[in-house]
């Protein structure tokens, strides 16, 4: 079952894309995309490699501006935002990338606390919360390690901890299980499901259908598929 170009739930969305197109290097990568992510919803974004999943995710947190249409973050058109306003918005959107980027000269705990640091709330003040967060992602004993010393799964969990430390309303994850084994993928998925149960909106870009099937057993989710530059709502065929 596929429904073209109008995806998501009714009502006000925390992130809304309306007739969005995005072109790069003279070619249109995404076309006529409309989607609304309701508060507390859980979405997967899937599609073949190069289909534009990462681009769509970047549009969702203001890292890219659409070449046509509207992107609204918390009911605000991103085009009307100054760069500093976009930065403020990002504090409400946690992002986890496949190729996680850390500040390699800082320890894991300092990297996890980075969103606090840049917002002027220092890690000392968040001491117990930070320790609890590291415990939640299973990195208590790796708190003082440097990012290059972490395994793939540990990096992803550290990135997830960094993404949620500001208690964002939305968590966007781009191929979060791309570089890790199945067991670790399950562990990461469990953490994302837990976040969703706390009321966070979650959008995971992945081409890992097994992960999507595993998630469907744990949480009510929608699967969006990018095909031929357009977004479709995938259904029972998954």
């Amino acid at each position: 079952m596929l429904r073209h170009n109008r995806c998501g739930e009714a009502g006000t969305g925390v992130i809304e894309l309306e007739n969005v197109a995005y072109s790069y290097g003279g070619g249109e990568l995404l076309s006529d995309i409309s989607v609304k992510l309701a508060p507390g919803s859980f979405h997967f974004l899937t599609g073949p490699s190069g289909a534009g999943k990462t681009t769509l995710l970047k549009l969702c947190y203001g890292a890219l501006l659409p070449t046509a249409g509207y992107v609204r973050l918390f009911q605000t058109d991103v085009r009307s935002l100054e760069r500093d306003d976009v930065a403020m918005m990002r504090r409400k959107i946690g992002v986890v990338h496949q190729d996680v980027q850390f500040l390699d000269h800082l320890s894991v705990i300092d990297n996890v606390a980075l969103p606090l640091t840049v917002s002027g709330r220092h890690a000392e003040a968040a001491g117990p919360d930070l320790a609890e967060l590291l415990n939640w992602v299973g990195l208590t004993n790796r708190a003082d390690a440097r990012p290059p010393e972490l395994s793939g799964g540990e990096r992803q969990r550290a990135a997830l901890a960094r993404a949620v430390i500001m208690s964002p309303d939305v968590v966007l994850a781009d191929e979060p299980t791309g570089n890790i084994d199945w067991e670790m993928s399950q562990r990461l998925l469990t953490l994302l499901v837990e976040l969703n149960r706390m009321g966070k909106t979650v959008l995971i870009a992945t081409h890992d259908l097994a992960l999507i099937r595993a998630a469907k057993a744990q949480v009510q989710s929608r699967v969006l598929r990018i095909s031929n530059r357009r977004l479709q709502l995938a259904g029972a065929d998954l």
Partner: protein, 301 residues
């Protein structure tokens, strides 16, 4: 990065957490320190040159402006009479504090460097010289010339203006050149810091990307770099100024016979002028880094 009181206070206060987000740059930091120090060292000498030229111009201007000479060029039998007449004119001329005819011995001493000390003045038609020292308000040279022409035909007034003006002008130009050189050095500091900041931002593009991803504003990112370069310029410049002032202090003094070369240095409150260099360098570095950071962050978006 906006410049308001809050930003300035944040820059001055520093933030050890924010300072940590930019990785230490080691060798680059040492180069920036060295370049700031070297520039400040040179700037101290430029200022010393400028201030010394200013003092020289002032001294030449003051001393020469307050003195003048009258030459009595007259036949031997009229020389004494015309000298007395000239002195009488001078006594009634407003603005003249002192006037006296030089003695034979004094005139001989003046000519000794050229003709030796055994010059027979009596047998040579050497004009009699009258030394004039003007009072504070000075005298009217044109009026005096007219009176002397009427009453003492053999008197020629030389108020030193002919050769004083170019000397004073040269010293004043030299002072301006000194300030200009100091300005150029500060501009070079700005250029050097801008280049270093650009290089640092380019080298830390990934750091900038991570900071943006976690919600850092451009102002926050810029401040982390600005604070670092400002502190480096301040410390480097302070070290350069201390070394420069030490070197100037060690320059040989002319003692009681000051000349231009031996007079290069600072006097009195002049020693405070180079102390402003570190602050000026820091401000220049702050503005240069802020400019470079804002430009680089716009390009990195």
């Amino acid at each position: 990065m906006k410049f308001d009181l809050r930003t300035l206070r944040a820059l001055l206060a520093g933030d050890r957490h924010a300072d940590k987000v930019v990785p230490p740059s080691g060798f680059t930091a040492q180069l920036t320190l060295f370049a700031s120090g070297a520039m400040a060292f040179l700037a101290v000498f430029a200022l010393a040159l400028s201030l010394a030229s200013g003092r020289l111009a002032q001294r030449w201007g003051d001393e020469l402006a307050r003195t003048a000479t009258i030459r009595i060029v007259a036949p031997e039998d009229q020389r004494a009479q015309q000298t007395a007449a000239a002195l009488a004119v001078l006594q009634t001329t407003p603005g003249i504090a002192q006037a006296r005819a030089l003695s034979d011995a004094e005139q001989q001493a003046l000519l000794a460097p050229w003709f030796g000390s055994n010059l027979p003045l009596d047998s040579l038609p050497v004009p009699r010289l009258i030394e004039i020292v003007a009072s504070e308000q000075g005298f009217d040279a044109t009026g005096l010339r007219l009176r002397l022409a009427a009453e003492v035909p053999g008197a020629v007034l030389d108020d030193h203006g002919r050769w004083r003006a170019p000397l004073v002008s040269a010293a004043q130009r030299l002072r301006l050149v000194g300030w200009f050189v100091a300005g150029l050095i500060l501009a070079a500091v700005a250029a050097m810091v801008t280049l270093a900041a650009n290089a640092a931002l380019a080298a830390n593009a990934q750091v900038v990307a991570v900071l943006r991803l976690v919600g850092a504003t451009d102002g926050y990112i810029a401040q982390a770099f600005v604070r670092r370069f400002t502190v480096r310029a301040l410390i480097g410049s302070a070290m350069g100024v201390v070394l420069g002032m030490g070197a100037v202090w060690l320059l040989p003094s002319g003692g009681d016979m000051p000349s231009f070369l031996t007079g290069i240095g600072f006097q009195g409150a002049g020693w405070l002028v180079p102390l402003m260099l570190p602050i000026i360098s820091a401000v220049v570095a702050l503005l240069a880094t802020a400019f470079a950071a804002n430009r680089a962050l716009r390009m990195l978006s």
